[in-house]
């Protein structure tokens, strides 16, 4: 049985570190893991995704349309942009956080309204306020690890030794902060 987790957001939000921690944990727990990301031309500020697949034996690293068990969106509008990649019986965790794209900044478009309602009308949707929680923890940058916490809880992966994974992969002085962020994320869902 292969499970597929789709992390989406905006370039610069830290989806890459979150998926790195996630895949490392899954590997150490004994799963076969594959992960796909596209980086390159000016992804900064653009729409980005990390696709994580794990199970006994994983062939393709790519999640197909209608193939993800869970869609975790680091930014509100991105959840909708990637929704077609979710299985019809999948679930969404969406960070209630807006990043304006260039056409919105320039006044050509408004940031769309009713996104959360649109999501909730289609699929089980959990809205989280990871930016607020990160600010409470004292560092807005840990938003990505909070969102990693929501994935772990949503996918029932709590048994993996995440403390070790975090200690192995983040600088010592940020260890405590990241561990708190992970727990905070798990408590959000």
């Amino acid at each position: 049985m292969v499970k597929s987790i789709l992390l989406v957001g905006v370039g610069g939000q830290g989806t890459i570190l979150a998926s790195k921690l996630l895949t490392t944990g899954l590997m150490e727990a004994g799963y076969d893991v594959k992960m796909s990301e596209i980086h390159g031309m000016s992804q900064r500020g653009g729409s980005v995704s990390s696709q994580v697949r794990y199970g006994d034996k994983v062939e393709s690293s790519v999640i197909e349309v209608g193939g993800a068990d869970i869609l975790v969106s680091f930014e509100k509008m991105e959840a909708l942009r990637w929704l077609k990649y979710l299985k019809p019986d999948g679930k969404v965790v969406v960070n209630d956080y807006e990043i304006n794209s260039m056409p919105i900044l320039s006044g050509k478009f408004d940031y769309p309204t009713g996104i959360l309602e649109e999501l909730a009308s289609k699929v089980p949707t959990k809205v989280v306020h990871a930016a607020k929680r990160a600010a409470e923890l004292g560092n807005p940058k840990v938003m990505n690890v909070i969102l990693l916490g929501t994935i772990i809880r949503s996918m029932g992966l709590e048994a993996i030794d995440w403390e070790k994974i975090i200690c192995d992969n983040v600088k010592a002085k940020f260890k405590e902060l990241n561990l708190k962020a992970l727990t905070a994320g798990m408590d959000l869902v």
Binding site: G45, G66, S101
Partner: protein, 593 residues
Amino acid sequence: MKKLLTGNEAIARGAYEAGVKFASAYPGTPSTEILENIATYKEDILAEWAPNEKVALEAVIGASIAGARSIASMKHVGVNVAADPLFTYAYTGVNGGMVLVTADEPGQHSSQNEQDNRNYAKFAKIAMLEPADSQEAKDMTKAAFEISEKYDTPVLLRMTTRVCHSKGIVECNDRQEAGIKDYVKNTKKYITVPAHARILRLKVEERLQKLLEFSNNTSLNYIEWHSAKIGVIASGGCCSYAKEVFGDSASYLKLGFTYPLPTEKIKEFCQKVEKVYIIEENDPYIEEQVRILGFDCIGKNLIPFCGELTPDVIRKAVYGKENPSIDYDADKVVPRPPTLCAGCPHRGLFYTLGKRKNLLLSGDIGCYTLGFAEPYNAMDYNICMGASISAGHGAQQVFSMQANSPMRAVAILGDSTFFHTGINSLLDVAYNRSNTITVILDNRITGMTGHQENPGSGYTLQGKETRPVDIEKLVKACGIDQVIVINPNDLKAVEDALDWALSLNEPAVIITRWPCVLKKFSPQDKEEFKGSFTKRCTVNTEVCVGCRSCIKTGCPAIYFDKTSKKASIGLDCVGCEVCLQVCPKQAIQKEEA
């Protein structure tokens, strides 16, 4: 020891384990991280950024001739640049094993075309391997060196974006030292005068026969039997996609060694299955061989000839159906195109160029290609690395033939692109004396591929301080007398420089010298650009009249609030002051960040 590695990291690991001594490359997505990761093995491998892919491959060829296992890596279009030495080294053969990694881009995530470089192996008559995942990327890199030395051939290791950038679990081993082979002068092998090359030409054909035999017998090409109703032939990443779609309902001929293709194995497979599907991205490379062998198959008549063949694409092509998915109100999703960063030193130039008339803006490859887009609309074409100057020269010569033409050509390229192939193009301008204007955007780093050092940055890939090229002196030495260096954030300086260059009837070069906003400053940068990026601009809403002049700079830090009808500037502002200079009401001021 197991590690989770991308395909690119796995190639680096494979090179390390194979005893590689020398590596060279020019950065290019999706290949860049190969050399960056090889460079981490500082004690064992000398890894260098070369000014371009041809130079990288030639350096690697020299290292191979001198007896070391050597590897070059580049994106697919880089192999076009490096094709010249490749085709001749294919004749001479190697001393130390030599591998060339080509990173192809089905789907064109970050490239100007989608060329299928498997054709290069056939064209140059050299062995080729195609890994499907990270473990194979490592294993096949090692195998490639064995094949290179055993069969006296350069080896092409063909990757695609997904295999480069996907992670998988890789079993890592220790390094096996391969040493450095003795260098023995051998002019019959390495001097390619026609008398020698004609003999080498025959040897290439003999080599291909031996490689064909290897291809038919190697475990790199294998059959996985399930149902005989459907037979799938695939190589590289396509094989894993096909397995997602066909599962155990098909048997597979999985090809890892793909030039020469294993004709006997293909025959054996095709004879035993009822229906043959060829799943391959881009060209019908395998399909043509299967058809030559006399077998009917389903290939490009059904499977798309472009883009990535992800499982959903194959499923739709083969079964005519898609997985069920969720529809949503598409009006609620606004585009999110890539943009020049807040504080990007290219902004001031493109803002100014976009307002000018009668300019042909000859573009190039880099972040600055985004100058073509809204709100600047300041680029007419871009062809390939370095072409801005030479194509601009050709256009200017034609404009100059017409007595009444108001048009002038302005070539625009970055520092790294200038070092890549712009210098020889500038020699063309200087030598043939067109009044082309060349703008070199010197942002002190190779930006778009993620900040690689280059001949102008003062540091090598492995962190050694080196002598940075002086672009101004170099331009003058080429034969250009009219050169000016400006700060591109100073809009008046940009306007004045353009006016000055346009007034001349001879070649001129404008160098815009300001660091990329994302650059990690070197001690020299800290000295030269003291105090930069430490302030920010703010809008005085009392004075702002909502004219949107600042919005037209295309800066992602500036937001137009439709309710208050005023501009505001976000915290990502680094104080480049371009918006401050265009505000007609002086409503923008600068303060300490």
